[in-house]
């Protein structure tokens, strides 16, 4: 029975209408429970971050005596100014802006590098006939097996031996080694209709032209999706930057967290406000990217992990 049948409460249909209302009741109750569950879930996700944000608008003394805050204090600008523009807060030589810049360099450098390198490799694997194709395929895809964490020590030694400690190259390039991007583009290229390459060949497009004129424009959405995921992934790197950068001028925001902790261990009143300010700054860019480009992000995430 559709909902329109249930309306029109004339005297003859009152009986049916009340019966419908009786049936509707548990339905409405279930809806209320659903919303309660979702609101509880949303608060579970939201409250800790809101608290961090509100706390970043209070003085350290307030926080120290009254605990974390859920109201807006008057010292927001002050804390963010200290955290972002005054060197020697948590770190001795760099300010938050420098770390913010480094985070962008890592996030963008990593995602762009990864997209270029993996697109080229996937293009070779899908669209070319050559002798060691299978070997190359396996050589690249075996890297999906071992996360950086389990080979961290020798990786560090090799990069150190190459003199790449405290360089952007050393920070970014080794992270590109895994094949997630290549795998993703391979899947996508395989889904591109075969007839397109045939039409292009008849139209006189060689390998380079086909790549630039047809394949790259076709992959635009995919590139955007993978860029978002890789940007967030790169921005959020912690272990590798922690061991690769000892020079503070190369610190990223996420890496800088560790320096905040050092201050916490000290005996004085910790600089809660500044710490929370820096944490908020460290999460805003990736969160914005994910929220604004949500549909691309979800698509990329779900497809790439297949």
């Amino acid at each position: 029975m559709s909902s329109s049948d249930l309306q029109a409460p004339t005297s003859t249909t009152i009986a049916t209408a009340s019966a419908a209302a009786a049936r509707k009741k548990p339905f409405a109750l279930r809806q209320i429970i659903d919303h309660v569950v979702l609101i509880a879930g949303s608060l579970f996700m939201l409250v800790p971050v809101l608290m961090a944000f509100f706390t970043s608008s209070h003085t350290d003394v307030t926080v120290h005596t009254n605990g974390l805050q859920m109201t807006f204090g008057g010292h927001l600008a002050e804390n963010y100014y200290e955290a972002m523009l005054v060197p020697g807060g948590f770190t001795k030589t760099v300010d938050g802006m420098r770390m913010l810049m480094n985070s962008f360099i890592l996030g963008i450098g990593f995602s762009v590098g990864k997209i270029i390198i993996s697109m080229l490799a996937a293009y070779a694997i899908v669209y070319f006939q050559f002798r060691f194709a299978t070997l190359a395929f396996w050589a690249i895809f075996t890297t999906l097996l071992l996360p950086l964490e389990v080979r961290i020590l020798p990786s560090y030694e090799i990069v150190q031996g190459m003199g790449l400690v405290n360089t952007y190259t050393g920070l970014i390039v080794p992270l590109i080694a895994s094949a997630t991007g290549t795998f993703f583009f391979r899947q996508f290229f395989k889904s591109v209709p075969n007839e397109l390459i045939e039409a292009a060949r008849i139209d006189g497009a060689g390998p380079v032209k086909f790549f630039i004129d047809i394949l790259v424009p076709l992959s635009k959405t995919m590139i955007a999706a993978i860029f978002i995921i890789m940007f967030v992934f790169g921005w959020n790197q912690y272990l590798w930057p922690t061991i690769m950068t000892t020079d503070e001028s190369f610190f990223t925001l996420v890496r800088g967290i560790k320096q905040i902790l050092n201050v916490f261990i000290g005996a004085q009143i910790p600089e809660y406000g500044q710490a929370m300010a820096l944490a908020i700054v460290a999460m805003v860019p990736p969160v914005l990217v994910v929220v604004i480009f949500q549909s691309w992000f979800v698509k990329g995430l779900v497809e790439s992990d297949k």
């Binding site: 045939e198 008849i202 139209d203 006189g204």
Partner: protein
């Protein structure tokens, strides 16, 4: 414009399967030839070898006077229309049509003139700025044709171009493609699995089966004198009735479950043969007459322009075509198979005798 010669061309895939056994076919300048056959018969493989999308294992293909075996698709002076249109989804209709010309280094003004001319011919001028996704199936089909036309090729290749369209549009496009081809006079090779397309469009048809060309001929030749049982039953709807028979020389033809039929010419073979008759050649009588056999009416299928009478002879399904004037009463009628309408095939080779 060019003559196309396919000389003993063979295709073997790396895994050893032979997609096409050595086949030869000579296509005249301006001719519209249709390669027809069931899926997997090798027709697409042959077309793709002509296009240069597949390597030729053996034999030579020449377009015009040039052997093209070693040439890239782009150098063969051909244009191809694909089943899924294969339009570049990110380019406008205009750019789709211009892309091949641009790659050839044609001056911008000439490209524009060619695209406008083709667009006018196909009535797609108003869509030139649109993306393929904004077009209907029929419009995309036209754009795919347009992309082929602008190249002004020596040879058009069509790979089942109408199979994604609905029935009505397919009939319409069939006629349009043929008209256009006559106007342009470009030699064309058209691949389809649809025998109606083959019959209605072709100057000549090549029927393929299991990697072999079974018969080459005009639609009338293919229909009226099929060279094999395969051709006889593949071409024509409803298909030709095929019955088992035996020939013992001197005009003595026995059809299984039907009895003796007189044939006026002597056959070269004796022994088991297969007898074919098209549904429209079966004569149905209400009452018993000389040389008729009683048959039971299982089912009458209304076509509007006539009716099909379904029955079985022995265990073999059998169909007769009836005109609208032809009245049927009762469950049993009498069929006559005129000797001149019988197609006789060697039972062991399947070839016409």
């Amino acid at each position: 414009m060019a003559k196309v010669v396919i000389d003993n061309v063979r295709k073997v895939y790396p895994n050893g399967t032979e997609a096409l056994s050595p086949s030869s076919l000579s296509i005249e300048d301006g001719e519209f030839i249709v390669l027809v056959g069931p899926s997997g018969c090798g027709k697409s493989t042959l077309l793709r070898m002509i296009a240069g999308l597949e390597d030729i294992t053996e034999g030579t293909i020449s377009i015009g006077e040039r052997v093209v075996n070693a040439l890239d698709p782009a150098e063969r002076d051909i244009a191809m229309v694909f089943q899924n249109y294969a339009l570049y989804p990110h380019m406008s209709v205009y750019k789709n049509m211009a892309y091949g010309l641009k790659n050839r280094g044609m001056p911008k003004a000439d490209i524009d003139a060619a695209v406008q001319k083709a667009a006018k011919l196909l009535h797609i001028e108003e869509f030139l700025a649109r993306k393929p996704s904004q077009l209907s199936g029929g419009q995309r089909q036209r754009v795919a044709m347009g992309r082929a036309i602008v190249r002004d090729p020596a040879l058009f290749l069509f790979d089942e171009p109408l199979s994604n369209l609905d029935a009505k549009l397919r009939n319409q496009m069939r006629i349009e493609i043929r008209k256009l081809q006559r106007e342009l006079g470009v030699t064309s090779i058209y691949v389809t699995h649809d025998q109606i397309e083959a019959m209605t469009m072709a100057d000549r048809i090549a029927v393929l089966n299991t990697g072999k060309i079974e018969q080459i001929g005009t639609p009338a030749q293919i229909y009226h004198t099929p060279a094999s049982i395969f051709v006889a039953s593949f071409m024509g709807a409803p298909p030709m009735n095929i019955l088992d028979g035996h020939y013992n020389g001197n005009g003595g033809l026995e059809i299984k479950d039907l009895g003796h039929v007189a044939v006026d010419h002597t056959l070269e073979v004796t022994g088991d043969i297969q007898v074919g008759i098209r549904p429209e050649n079966v004569e149905i009588h209400q009452a018993e007459e000389p040389h008729t056999i009683p048959i039971k009416v299982d089912f009458l299928e209304e076509l509007g322009a006539g009716r099909l009478l379904h029955t079985t002879i022995g265990n073999t399904p059998f169909i007769a075509h009836l005109d609208n004037e032809h009245q049927i009463n009762g469950e049993t009628v009498f069929a006559h198979l005129p000797a001149r309408a019988l197609h006789l095939f060697d039972a062991s080779t399947g070839r016409r005798v």
